[in-house]
Every structure is written in structure tokens, then in C-alpha cells.
């Protein structure tokens, strides 16, 4: 089975984002990681490879620093990697999707995995965009997947229920937490990943149709309030939740 996994490098969830004076994100002290949802995508690809044989290719777009996220995926066990060179990761998902689709078309992949969304810009558009550009089915927020012959059955989370969808291969799968337990990169895997050459390619990116005007810090959270520490405080708590916080 020939599988591609599209990954993104994102800031660590613990990063305290600092803004520059020009209201852009200051990247200098950010610890970048492999987007956590993409880890589920990589794991699922590796599991299918173990079951059906084949190859897993990791594809990402961005500047040199993105190679470290690619290495993380290789260290988990992926076989090959492609980086589409770009000075920045585009803010418009459509631009990224265009470049990825061009690269994916070359590979004749049976399945294309990716995280259901990136934790930095949270657009969650990539599975659908790729499906549309490649003209193949795309299913996202997938928590369970079975592949048999040239058919797959995917279970996805919807509000209050699970939806079960069948389609034929090739297809795009957006991974959701719960799909699997991503493996840890072993030290052997890390050493092996070092020896794999990342295929770095140039690409023409389309123009951004979306522009980020500026970033702002979220408003500071107001401090919590302790109403009391026994059952006596419940009526007051209810009143405050109702009248002040207006959540009930």
C-alpha cells in the first residue's frame, strides 16, 4: 500500500506566543513540534503499512525548520519524506493545499492521511481542500478506520453520534484523537531517521487570497472567585452563574 501523510510543523502547545511590534508572531523562541493531530495520521499510516506492506511518505511545506517535524515523523517509522520549500507556511490553507495536491498527484497514493486540523491556525480545511483538488473522497474527524481491498470504512465523530462512511480508495483521511495511540519515536528510530534524505523540492505557490491583518493577545482572564467551601455556598454560586456569568 502506498500511503502519504501530510504533516505540519506547529508551535508546542506549551509555547507562550510573543508578538512583534508589527503584530506578527515572534518565532525566535518558539519550540516547534509535529502537529499533534498529525501524529495520529502518521500512526495510522504506519499501522496500515505493517498490515499490508508498502511505503509511507511524509510530505510537508515550509522553511528549513520544518525538517525537524519531518524527522519526528520519520523517527516514528515513515520511509520517505518530501519538503516543499517555502519561506513561510502560508496563512491561506488553499495555497498550501494547491502545492500539496500537485505533489500528491505525482505519487499515485492509495491513501492520504493528515490531522483533522493544525493546532496553530485551526482552519481544519485541509482534508476537504485536498479531496476537492484531487477529486477523491475526503473524510475528516475520523476515529476508526478499516481498509479492505479497495474499500474503506471510516467512523467519524459528529455531534452526539458516530457516523459510519464507506468509500473506495484512494481517499483523504483527517485523523481525530482516538483513532489510535501514536507510538513514541524510539532512539533507534531517531538514529535511522537521520540517515533518510529529505527530498526538498521547489514549488510555485499561488497567491494568498486570505490576509492576516494582525495578531492580538487574548483578553486576560479575570481571576476566579471562591464563593465558599461547603454546600451552603451552592445557592450563591447558582445566583452568580445565572446573573453575573450568565452561563445558566
Amino acid at each position: 500500500m502506498n500511503i502519504a501523510v501530510c504533516i505540519k510543523q506547529t508551535p508546542d502547545t506549551e509555547t507562550r506566543i510573543k508578538l512583534t511590534e508589527a503584530k506578527t508572531v515572534d518565532e525566535s523562541d518558539i519550540n516547534f513540534i509535529l502537529n499533534p493531530y498529525d501524529e495520529f495520521a502518521v500512526e495510522e499510516a504506519l499501522k496500515l503499512r505493517e498490515k499490508f506492506d508498502g511505503e509511507v511518505t511524509v510530505i510537508s511545506l515550509g522553511p528549513d525548520r520544518v525538517n525537524s517535524a519531518i524527522r519526528s515523523a520519520l523517527a516514528m517509522g515513515a520511509d520517505k519524506a518530501v519538503r516543499i520549500k517555502a519561506e513561510n507556511i502560508p496563512t491561506d490553507p488553499n495555497v498550501t493545499a494547491g502545492a500539496l495536491a500537485t505533489e500528491l498527484q505525482k505519487g499515485n497514493y492509495d491513501l492520504i492521511f493528515l490531522g483533522k486540523q493544525a493546532i496553530d491556525d485551526d482552519h481544519a480545511q485541509m482534508p476537504a481542500l485536498l479531496g476537492a483538488k484531487l477529486g477523491i473522497p475526503a473524510i475528516s474527524v475520523v476515529v476508526k478506520l478499516e481498509v479492505e481491498g479497495d474499500k474503506l470504512t471510516a467512523e467519524r465523530e459528529i455531534d452526539g453520534a458516530h457516523e459510519i462512511i464507506e468509500c473506495s480508495l484512494p481517499a483523504v483521511i483527517g485523523a481525530q484523537r482516538g483513532l489510535n495511540e501514536p507510538r513514541y519515536a524510539s532512539l533507534k528510530g531517531i538514529m535511522k531517521a537521520k540517515k533518510i534524505q529529505i527530498n526538498e523540492i521547489d514549488a510555485e505557490l499561488s497567491a494568498d487570497q486570505l490576509q492576516v491583518v494582525e495578531f492580538n493577545y487574548p483578553p486576560e482572564k479575570s481571576p476566579g472567585k471562591i464563593v465558599g467551601d461547603s454546600a451552603d455556598a451552592v445557592p450563591e454560586l447558582l445566583r452568580l452563574l445565572h446573573e453575573e456569568a450568565k452561563v445558566i
Partner: protein, 577 residues
């Protein structure tokens, strides 16, 4: 060590020689290894977050088998095994950083991993022959075998040369027969591979029979190896500590490690090596507990202010941070020296161990103090980190022994100039089990220097403080030698002051070098916090140095000794109010 071509910075310091080329610029890890290290750290962090419950490990006095097995599979048992034997061949710097992480996550686990690879199989890596390495290292690296280091005996702790375990060579059958017992052996109950130090009778070149220590590679499956019950300890409860007994163990002669009779040197060099890992683990623990305490003091309010707004709390936070920064600077300067491969670092690694374990102990205690009564409660981690951290000042060379070593090794060079004293000095140093036969010639040709190379202007005050007090350390050491002659080996209170002064000076130069390199890289503005820490630390340090050196000449040592002798004689506190 004699195979090193350059002496240590600190030994030269005692002789009034400032080998600044050894400590500038501040060492930096190669980009490729830094990337590998980050990935290994990420793997461990993720694994720990999902699988390691330190409270439970402490409560059950056991690291779950599944945790150890997973760590074996992931490769964490082979960090210092060279790649050709199935390991990962980490540099001393990367290795120490890994142990900083382990020590922060769970000290019990750190010591289990450390006893295995910092000391358990380290002798094999350093002194093993090809056949021995091929036979055992792949299994040790994969964790199929766990290792333990067996030196200490009931009658031989700090005085390690006094061990009684005996090996009798039986050439006819090609074996040594090993008998004896070792106490407080970390991993004693779970190890299958033991580096054992034992005495054997050797005929020296004059034809005389002599007892000398040799090192042996012993495996549990040789038969006759048993472990005692698990010790009930104050801390590090998850680690295995037992007595290990050897009863008529038949150890094949090919399992003799290194040369016959050279075991003591092997034992000591292994410990020299292991001390950096322990130093790293100690500061790792403090970093984690500081983070915990910061969470509390920035939330908890008293008198309508958060605790972090009170000045006495600020002082604690700042002091812990400065001490961490300075000690970390020493540790990674030293690991950089180790990785450069040609510098004697025995003194520096001893100083790092002493300083790191003590600032960690004080810092952990201050973290507990900052959070008040909550820190005394068992459901919070403060008590556990304190209990776990206490042993660090005792094992792998007590901090007292390491101070004696630091001072005596430092003045040894000058002692040799003063003839007879040199010979007298050599004995105790050897006895303390830390080696020091370094390339003395290297210093001899050097004239004493009073200045180090230029540093960034924002560090110039710190530089002058270092230079001034480095010179004074040299003078004080000379005077101490002149006044005390051979008896200097018994003047431990003076040794302690010289050692502490030297440690502070080494810390100062490490901080200056680190911050200077940082300014070159990032610019003065972005290094503002570090410059501030350098300024404060060097100011604090030179005042300590001054006090210690003044007290080399003027002190109450005689009165203190006399009083102690009296109290010991009385067997209790005899005074009444």
C-alpha cells in the same frame, strides 16, 4: 588522568595559572547532536507524561515492570554505549542533559537508569577488550541485561581501598573464585550484570606477594550470586537497593576487566565519569519543583497580594534561579571539556557534583518553604523531591571526601615543588579514590597570569572579581602549604575552604564564559537577564571566596576540634542552662 594531555582549569588555578583558553568560548553542542537530543528528550517527555506516576512509584516502592520494559524498548538503556555495540554513543553533554530530564521527572527512575549506564556498565565501555564488549554491550544497551556497580562493602565506604571481597585465581580451570558481599548496591535486586571490585593476590616485580584490587565482569547466571532484601530507604524508593552476595562464583578469567591489580583506578575513573550525570539529575529535580512552586506562589493570595509579590519570596525565586544558572554553567562547561577529549576533568566533575547536589538540596527546601504548610503535605511532591534528593550529597563520593580531594589535588602541584610534601599529599588523594596523576608538566612551563582574555564590557566587573580572587586563591593555597607543611592533609577545615573557594571561582568563570558567548550570539539586549544573573552571582561568589580565604589564615579550627573531641568523649550535649 595520565592519558590526558592538558591539566584541568581548576588545578592550574591553584598554581596561579589561568588557562582561559580551556574555558573560552563556552562549549556548544553540534547542531546535529542537538537535534537528536531534542528528539530523544521529546520521546522521553511524552512517554513520561503518559506512563510515569512518580507518586505511585514512591508509594509502592517500585517502578512498574512495564515502565522499565518500555524504556528498554525505546532505547534508554544504551545512551552511552558506542553505536557499533548497539547503543547511541551520546556525548557527555547530551548524556548529562538526558539525566537532567530523568532527574526532573522521577529521581528513582533516574538513579535506576544511572546505576545501569553511568556506573554499572561504564567500566566495560572504558576498559573492556573487544571480546568483552561484543559479548555484553549489545545486551546491556538493549536492556536485556541490567547492570550494577559493586564497590561499597560493610567495612569499605569512602575508604574504598579497604574492600574484603576476594578473588582467587585458578589458572588450571581458567576461572577466578569470587567470595564476598557488597552493600547498598543500586539495582542490586534487578541487575544481571555486575562490575565487581575484589582483591586478589598478585606477585609484584620484586617477587613479593601483594593484595591488589582487580575488576571483574560478573553475571548472575554464573551461579552463586544472590541479592539481599530490598532496603527500606528515606527516598529513591522506586529504585532497587540491596546487598549482593558472591559465594564461590566461578568467574572466567576472560572476564577480568583491564589489567590485574588495576581495579582501583578503574573504579575511580568510572566514578569521575558518573558524577556529571548525578549533577545533571540534581539540577533537573530542582527545575521541576521550582516550576511547581511558581504555580502556587503566583496564585495564592495573602494580605491581598500574591505570594510572588512579597520581597522575601522574590529573593528565594531569584536565588534559586541564579544558583541553577551558575551550576548549570559549570556542568555544561565541564561536559564540554569531557567531550573535547583531552582535558583532565576529575576535579571539575567533583566540584559540579558537590555544588549541584547542595544547591539542589537548598533549593528544594526553599521551594517547600515558599508554598508553606502545603509543602509539608504528602499529597504534594515537595516532600518526595526532598527525600529523593538527600542521598545525592552522600553517594558517588560524599561531598566531604570530594572537597578534600578538590583541595589536595589542587595544591598537590605546589606541594611537589616543596619536595617532601608532594609525596605526603599523594597518599590521601589516592586513598580518597579520585585520581590525579595528570600532566603536571603542562603547568610548569607557564608563568602565572593575572588576567584572562577580554570579555564583553557588561561583564567587566565580574571579570575583575574573578581575576582578583583567583590570584588570592593561589596565595592562600601557598600559605596554607607553607604554614602546615605535610600536616595540611589533616587540616580538613582549611581544605574545605580552599575547595569551596575554588568551586566558586570555577562557577564564576563558567558563568562569565557562558554569558560572554551568549552576548556574542544574541546581542547585549537579548542577554539582559543572563547579564544580570552573572553580575549578581559573581558578586555573591567573590564575597564567599573572600570569607573562605580569610578564614584559611584566621579561624577557630583548633577550638572547634577541641570542643568536638570533648563532646564526643562526653557522648552527649553536657551543658545545662
Amino acid at each position: 588522568m595520565s592519558d590526558k594531555t592538558k591539566p584541568s582549569f581548576s588545578k592550574a588555578l591553584f598554581s596561579g595559572v589561568l588557562l582561559d583558553e580551556l574555558v573560552f568560548p563556552y562549549p556548544e553542542m553540534e547542531a546535529e547532536e542537538a537535534e537528536d537530543l531534542k528528539m530523544m528528550q521529546d520521546t522521553f517527555k511524552k512517554f513520561a507524561e503518559d506512563n510515569i506516576d512518580s507518586e505511585k512509584i514512591d508509594e509502592n516502592s517500585k517502578i512498574p515492570d512495564e515502565v522499565l520494559n518500555s524504556l528498554k524498548e525505546l532505547g534508554f538503556m544504551g545512551l552511552s554505549v558506542p553505536e557499533e555495540y548497539g547503543g547511541f554513543g551520546l556525548s557527555a553533554t547530551a548524556y548529562t542533559k538526558m539525566f537532567e530530564l530523568f532527574g526532573g521527572v522521577d529521581p528513582s527512575l533516574a538513579i535506576t537508569l544511572g546505576a545501569h549506564q553511568s556506573i554499572g556498565y561504564k567500566a566495560l565501555v572504558l576498559y573492556g577488550n573487544e571480546a568483552q564488549k561484543k559479548k555484553y554491550l549489545p545486551k546491556l544497551s538493549s536492556g536485556e541485561m541490567l547492570a550494577a556497580y559493586c564497590l561499597t562493602e560493610p567495612g569499605a565506604g569512602s575508604d574504598a581501598a579497604g574492600i574484603q571481597t576476594r578473588a582467587i585465581r585458578d589458572d588450571k580451570n581458567g576461572v577466578y573464585i569470587l567470595n564476598g558481599s557488597k552493600i547498598w548496591i543500586t539495582n542490586g535486586g534487578i541487575a544481571d550484570f555486575f562490575t565487581v571490585f575484589a582483591k586478589e593476590e598478585i606477585i609484584d616485580k620484586n617477587g613479593e606477594k601483594k593484595d591488589k584490587i582487580s575488576a571483574f565482569l560478573v553475571t548472575r547466571d554464573m551461579g552463586g550470586v544472590t541479592s539481599g532484601k530490598e532496603e527500606n530507604k528515606l527516598g529513591l524508593k522506586g529504585s532497587s537497593t540491596t546487598e549482593v552476595f558472591f559465594e564461590d562464583v566461578k568467574v572466567p578469567i576472560e572476564n577480568l576487566l583491564g589489567e590485574r591489580g588495576k581495579g582501583f583506578k578503574i573504579a575511580m575513573n568510572v566514578l569521575n565519569n558518573g558524577r556529571l550525570g548525578l549533577a545533571g539529575g540534581s539540577i533537573g529535580a530542582l527545575k521541576v519543583l521550582l516550576k511547581e512552586a511558581l504555580g502556587h506562589i503566583s496564585q495564592r493570595k495573602q494580605f491581598k497580594k500574591t505570594l510572588s509579590e512579597f520581597e522575601m519570596i522574590k529573593e528565594k525565586v531569584a536565588q534559586i534561579t541564579i544558583d541553577l544558572f551558575a551550576t548549570e554553567s559549570m556542568i555544561y562547561l565541564t561536559s564540554g571539556l569531557v567531550d573535547s577529549g583531552e582535558v583532565d576533568y576529575s576535579l571539575e566533575s567533583a566540584m559540579c557534583k558537590v555544588r549541584a547536589t547542595e544547591i539542589s538540596w537548598i533549593g528544594l527546601n526553599e521551594c517547600l518553604q515558599m508554598v508553606g504548610g502545603l509543602g509539608f503535605m504528602k499529597e504534594y511532591p515537595y516532600q518526595r523531591y526532598l527525600r529523593d534528593g538527600r542521598i545525592n550529597m552522600i553517594f558517588e563520593g560524599t561531598n566531604e571526601i570530594l572537597r578534600m580531594f578538590t583541595a589536595l589535588a589542587g595544591i598537590q602541584e605546589r606541594g611537589q615543588v616543596l619536595r617532601k610534601i608532594g609525596t605526603a599529599l599523594k597518599e590521601p588523594i589516592k586513598g580518597y579514590g579520585v585520581l590525579t596523576d595528570y600532566a603536571a608538566e603542562w603547568i610548569k612551563g607557564r608563568i602565572s597570569t593575572e588576567r584572562i582574555q577580554d570579555v564583553h564590557k557588561s561583564l567587566s566587573t565580574a571579570k575583575v572579581q574573578f581575576e582578583t580572587w583567583a590570584k588570592n586563591l593561589h596565595f592562600s593555597a601557598e600559605r596554607a602549604l607553607m604554614h602546615n607543611g605535610k600536616k595540611i592533609i589533616y587540616r580538613e577545615m582549611i581544605q574545605k575552604r580552599l575547595a569551596d573557594a575554588a568551586t566558586d571561582l570555577y562557577a564564576m568563570i563558567a558563568v562569565i564564559s557562558r554569558v560572554d558567548s551568549l552576548i556574542t550570539k544574541k546581542g547585549e539586549e537579548k542577554a539582559a537577564n543572563e547579564i544580570n544573573m552573572c553580575t549578581i552571582f559573581c558578586d555573591q561568589a567573590w564575597r564567599r571566596v573572600r570569607r573562605n580565604l580569610l578564614m584559611v589564615d584566621s579561624n577557630n579550627d583548633k577550638g572547634m576540634s577541641k570542643l568536638s573531641d570533648f563532646i564526643v568523649e562526653e557522648k552527649k550535649y553536657p551543658f545545662e542552662a
